[in-house]
């Protein structure tokens, strides 16, 4: 995590390998937190949390500048979770970052918890937007970027959204706008897990070739394996250091359930139920991957 004073622009690493090993451990812990939250409810968007954990680990422990004890610190990079149902994943990262206490895991999704199933800014420290109505993150991000530029701020706005959100016209309006305004402080990440509520995203509403579309829209576009840490790290670095005045998009192809082989193998589903005994198996599978 680059939770510094905001002055150091370049992240300085003693060694690339050490950073990678540390990030793998972070991703493991994000996954573990999410599985523990899933266990509290016995159900949920756990497969998505597992697919996006590597991206969140790189965002929160490699790329972003923030202060865990002051989540509203003016100099922070903003992170907008557009796909609010991925809150279970983001909480995993916010807990690992020390912004939320691990003690709150057992309240996940319960009455009066600060960790509702759908991410909401008014409930949770570190949650920058309320995202249950999909297709709103990128429009807000455009405004955040414009606002930061007005203030002369050097902060980045990161926003994560899902492939289902590519169906919403509002996202494409924002893509036009971000390019129009040359928002070089915007780094958008789309999770292409090829799943949405009614089935595989590519079959629900065809959106390929996605990278070509975004390039044509004027975005600096990278398409990567979102579950390959080295590639994710490189993509975030390239997005941050890209010299041209244009918005940056990282298209992440991911595998739902990544890190828990029996969930990965299961028929893909937007909302999964997991049998009580399987949560321990899921944790064990994560441990196995960690030690491998």
């Amino acid at each position: 995590m680059r939770a510094g004073d905001g002055d150091q622009e370049d992240h300085v690493n003693t060694s690339v390998t050490a950073d990678r090993i540390q990030l793998a451990e972070r991703a493991y812990r994000v996954r573990r937190n999410s599985v523990l939250m899933g266990e509290v409810q016995g159900q949920g968007y756990v497969a998505q949390a597992l697919d996006i954990a590597d991206v969140l680990a790189v965002a929160y422990f490699h790329a972003m500048i923030y202060r865990p004890d002051d989540p509203e610190w003016e100099g922070r990079d903003r992170f907008l979770l557009s796909n609010g149902h991925y809150a279970i994943a983001l909480y995993g990262a916010l807990i690992e970052a020390g912004i939320i206490s691990a003690d709150e895991i057992e309240t996940y999704g319960s009455d009066d918890s600060r960790l509702p199933m759908s991410g909401m800014a008014s409930y949770t420290p570190g949650m920058e937007m309320s995202g249950g109505s999909l297709g709103q993150g990128l429009p807000i991000a455009v405004g955040r970027c414009l606002g930061l530029k007005r203030k002369g701020s050097k902060s980045f706005v990161y926003t994560l959204f899902s492939d289902g959100e590519l169906d919403e016209g509002s996202m494409w309006e924002a893509m036009l706008s971000a390019s129009h305004w040359k928002l070089d402080n915007l780094i958008a990440i789309v999770d292409v897990n090829n799943q949405q509520a009614d089935g595989p995203s590519s079959q629900v509403l065809a959106f390929e070739p996605l990278a070509d579309k975004l390039k044509a829209f004027g975005w600096f576009t990278q398409r990567i394996d979102g579950n390959d840490l080295d590639t994710v790290i490189a993509a975030f670095d390239a997005a941050r250091h890209h010299p041209e005045p244009q918005p940056r998009m990282i298209i992440c192809d991911t595998r739902m359930g990544c890190g828990v082989p029996f969930l990965e193998a299961r028929e893909k589903n937007h909302f999964i139920r997991v049998d009580p005994h399987e949560w321990q198996l899921a944790l064990a599978a994560l441990d196995e991957g960690r030690n491998a």
């Binding site: 523990l36 266990e39 509290v40 409810q41 159900q43 949920g44 609010g84 149902h85 895991i105 057992e106 309240t107 999704g109 319960s110 009455d111 009066d112 918890s113 509702p116 199933m117 759908s118 909401m120 409930y123 309320s130 995202g131 249950g132 109505s133 999909l134 297709g135 289902g164 959100e165 169906d167 919403e168 016209g169 949405q196 509520a197 009614d198 629900v204 509403l205 909302f271 009580p276 321990q280």
Partner: protein, 332 residues
């Protein structure tokens, strides 16, 4: 964290929560099966959705008539615009999504492309009012107000599985745009005990009572019937007038029932206190010079909390128990 499993089961704010009470009789996917049955004799009907077929019971129709089913993707504005286009070509679309997205996201598209042209599009929306604990993004507390305000729109809030089954052919036979709230999944079955028949635009007295009259719509009618049973034990006699069609409102029937003097009138709806059945009835009464003791049982004008549905229904006063207590308090 193995201690978690030993703790009492926590209450969930999951998106999909059942409104059926423990042990209540239910029917599975009444909308889906009713639409399949109707479509056998109505080749002009198609089903359309915005990535929510499974969550609006339209998947039943999709399985029965794959070539009459249109998956439009999670694009609610497109859904409404395309439904309008279909209707221009003589097709009768049943378009489904959640109530929040059908109304709040796609409002102008419904207003301009469907309602202004008086098109035969049936908009069927799940998770009406407070029927999910998922938070304001999915809680359609103001959908009736929005749709009532739209010229030409017929607005229906069915009570149970039977009424949904009866409403499907009725709204298909009705010319013009319709907004219908949908209960999906395992839907409570209540009205079969009342020899009930749905008709567009008609209110029906389900139960008579001398102390108070509840005028209710949607699932609040089943709650009102339960509350009336609870109050009967306290010797309080409550009548229930069910108003499934909010627009056009059955003013003659409402006037007739309210006209019987002396009773408290309480309007109950699964909706914000603003712009729904309560205000519609109040306006109708005052404009006709009728002013009974009048109360509203409705959701507050606020962004509602996330949490378990039973918790929230108690908190906001729309559970049967909360309703019975409130009415008893009013009667003093």
């Amino acid at each position: 964290m193995s201690t978690i499993t030993e703790k009492p089961r926590l209450k969930t704010s999951a998106m999909i929560a059942s409104i059926a009470a423990e042990g209540q009789r239910t029917k599975s996917a009444p909308f889906g099966y009713a639409l399949v049955e109707l479509a056998q004799t109505r080749p002009d009907i198609v089903g359309m959705t915005a990535d929510l077929s499974k969550y609006t019971d339209l998947h039943i129709f999709a399985q029965a008539f794959p070539d009459r089913f249109y998956e439009m993707g999670m694009a609610e504005q497109l859904l409404m615009g395309a439904a309008a286009g279909m209707a221009h070509e003589g097709v009768v679309p049943f378009a489904t999504t959640y109530a929040v997205f059908g109304t709040r996201r796609a409002y102008d598209f419904i207003h301009q492309t469907i309602a202004e042209d008086n098109l035969d599009v049936k908009i069927i929306c799940a998770l009406p009012g407070l029927t999910t604990g998922y938070g304001p993004s999915h809680q359609a507390a103001e959908d009736l107000a929005l749709m009532r305000a739209m010229p030409r729109m017929t607005v229906i809030d069915p009570c149970d599985a039977l009424e949904i089954e009866q409403a499907v052919p009725a709204i298909a036979a009705h010319k013009g745009p319709v907004y219908m709230r949908l209960l999906r999944g395992n839907v409570p079955l209540v009205l079969d005990e009342y020899n009930y028949q749905f008709e567009v635009g008609k209110a029906k007295l389900l139960r008579d009572g001398n102390d108070a009259l509840v005028i209710s719509t949607g699932l609040m009618t089943m709650r009102a019937l339960e509350a009336a049973d609870l109050l009967r034990k306290d010797s309080v006699d409550v009548g229930v007038l069910h108003v499934p069609t909010l627009k056009p409102l059955d003013v003659p029937t409402i006037l007739q029932e309210v006209g019987r003097s002396g009773r408290l009138v309480a309007v109950a709806e699964n909706h914000t206190e603003i712009g729904g059945l309560g205000e519609a009835v109040a306006t109708a009464l005052l404009c006709n010079g009728v002013a009974p003791p009048f109360k509203q049982i409705a959701l507050p004008d606020a962004f509602l909390a996330a949490g378990a549905l039973p918790t929230l229904h108690d908190r906001y006063g729309i559970s049967a128990k909360a309703m019975a207590e409130t009415i008893k308090g009013w009667l003093g």
